[in-house]
Amino acid sequence: MNQADIPLLELYRTMLTIRRFEERCNYLFMQGRIPSTLHLYIGQEAVAAGVCAHLRPDDYLFSTHRPHGHAIAKGVAPRAIMAELYGKVTGCCKGKGGSMHVGDVRVGMFPAVAIVGANAPLAAGAALAAKWLDKDRVSVCFFGEGAANEGAVHEAMNMAAIWDLPVVYVCENNLYAASTPFFKAFKIQNVADRAAAYGMPGVIVDGNDVEAVYRVAGEAIARARRREGPTLIEAKTYRLCGHSRSDPRTYRSREEEEEWAKRDPIPRLAGRLKELGLATDETLERIEQEVQALIDDAVRFAEESPLPDPEDTLKHVFWSEEG
């Protein structure tokens, strides 16, 4: 892949949209506008952007309890995500899902799965359907390194490998499963090393370098489209925020956080864009303003949307053609 083939400006816009969306979510949460809890993706944006840039709306995506970034990168409308976080009837799940279950099947994203690791067999199943029904549709499954120790993940990867399923497993290793550090849960250095045991390629990539993620994901997704089988990608990254609301992050040092902040993927990409002559400060400022306007619009939409009728609780337990 040539440098010129990587859509860096578009990737920047996606990453910045995720970042600004979530910063606003956090602010609205602190203000009490958004109920419940939030699992923010701040710091990991290059992974969602670099992977999803290769996906078509008809490709399948399975996400986690930390799904906002994946949803934005897959093309779920920010308005519909924000309204879902507000619990509004205009949300992408009509208020039935909430933060941990955002998704929109019209753009290939199923409701995010908030049971750690449980999305891995589902992604394999969707890949099985894609393999039978479609020429080159693929399935992508995001999960954290914490999920890599779940039985469901092992079972799914084994099945994906034995049946050569067109699925790409993307492990976002952000070093902490809630508060538990990587080294306490793994005897090995890399999650990707396990790929050999399943019989599929395992690739390690700097998850804070969107160019690298884009290249690696492109190869894995192309391999799946060619029906050559699954890939496990491990993106080494870092959650620059807490695990969920009110996480004081006392299980890790401020020095460590400062080290990772220097590798923040967004300023890093901004610098790269200028270095390559693909953007000036003015270009970046214009993107910033456009992104802010998009978020403003999403918040306005969510604020102005109606809450569901309490009795809507009773709808959608079973499938109905009427919706």
Binding site: G95, P111, G125, L128, A130, E155, H316
Partner: protein, 337 residues
């Protein structure tokens, strides 16, 4: 009409649905291995010869994985029939069933459908505590799942075909002593009812029960094997001039409440018999429903006949004690007359 066992009727249903719709496939352990068993109880025997090993898909021993794959495939447009060798193994995959299959339509605001069929054998058959449980109540408790429990070959075929065509997850509980499995997979002490099954296409609707025997003195509700225990009991009671009405709900979710309520309004007495444990059993919910909706028609307390609150034991005399017998049903009826 052809005479069939339940295993043969289920096999015929699968064959017809797979011929009708190329999206239908079977996924499970040991279901299509050449020289293998055709599933634990022979239901899929021979199907891989007609449909090949892609559509009769053998899996590793991975209940979470295979049920999760089936759910994901259903979400993406296929219509899987997944099976576990013993219902007890459903616990291995409880997250996939309870948190994924059952909730996906709901969490998506009604935009994702999960047309999954999940087959599971239940019932105590001399195998000890982990291959014997009657698990229906665990699943009738979960909103978003339909649960069926056929007791005859006719119903087994018609309900399985309806389940395949349903756009929701449907769990089919099948009793090991009713299959009529043959050869090395035959069950000792099996009832193996053989029933008439029409040659032509038919469906049994999900959510409709049936009166197996009419009577005016007492209503006995059973399911799976206990339908036959209830019928045996009714036969004995008839000799003493007591006319019992035997109801087989066939579907547990959604339950044909009106059929049961109408019968109780007629007889004024209700005995519920099931092989599950007593506390929190499916029968408890039926009793509560009848108490709430037909209280003033009841002439006596509702009686539940079930297994005791113990794991299924192994040794034959203990297992016989554990599983409700026709005699216990007779005693229960007499206790409220």
């Amino acid at each position: 009409m052809a005479l069939m066992t339940i295993a043969e009727a289920l096999r015929q249903a699968i064959r017809e649905e797979m011929r009708r719709d190329p999206r239908v496939f079977c996924i499970g352990e040991d279901i299509g291995i050449p020289g293998g068993f055709g599933g634990a109880f022979t239901v899929t025997l021979g199907l891989s010869e007609e449909f090949g090993h892609e559509r009769i898909l053998d899996t590793p021993i991975s209940e979470t994985g295979l049920i999760g794959v089936a759910i994901g495939a259903a979400m993406a447009g296929l219509r899987p029939i997944a099976d576990v060798q013993y219902g007890d193994f459903l616990f291995c995959a409880m997250d996939q069933i309870a948190n994924q299959a059952a909730k996906m339509t709901y969490m998506s605001g009604g935009t994702v459908k999960v047309p999954l069929v999940l087959r599971a054998p239940v019932g105590a058959t001399g195998r000890g505590a982990q291959h014997a449980q009657s698990l229906e109540a665990f699943f009738t408790h979960i909103p978003g799942l339909k649960v069926v429990a056929p007791a005859t070959a006719y119903d087994a075929k018609g309900l399985l075909k309806s389940a395949v065509r349903d756009d929701n997850p449907v769990i089919i509980f099948e009793h090991k002593l009713l299959y009529g499995s043959k050869g090395p997979r035959a069950e000792r002490g099996a009832l193996s009812p053989v029933g008439e099954v029409p040659e032509e296409e038919y469906l049994v609707p999900i959510g409709k029960g049936i009166i197996r025997r009419e009577g005016k003195d007492v209503t006995i509700v059973g399911k799976l094997l206990t339908v036959y225990r209830a019928l045996e009991a009714a036969e004995q009671l008839a000799k003493e001039g007591i006319e019992a009405e035997v109801i087989d709900p066939r579907t547990l979710v959604p339950l044909d409440k009106e059929l049961i309520l109408d019968s109780v309004r007629k007889t004024g007495r209700l005995v519920i018999v099931e092989e599950d444990n007593y506390t929190g059993g499916w029968g408890a919910d039926v009793a509560a429903m009848v108490a709430a909706e037909a209280f003033f028609w009841l002439d006596a307390p509702i009686v539940r006949v079930s297994a005791p609150d113990t794991p299924p034991p192994f040794s034959p005399p203990m297992e016989q004690f554990y599983v409700p017998s026709a005699e216990r049903v007779v005693q229960a009826v007499k206790s409220i007359l």
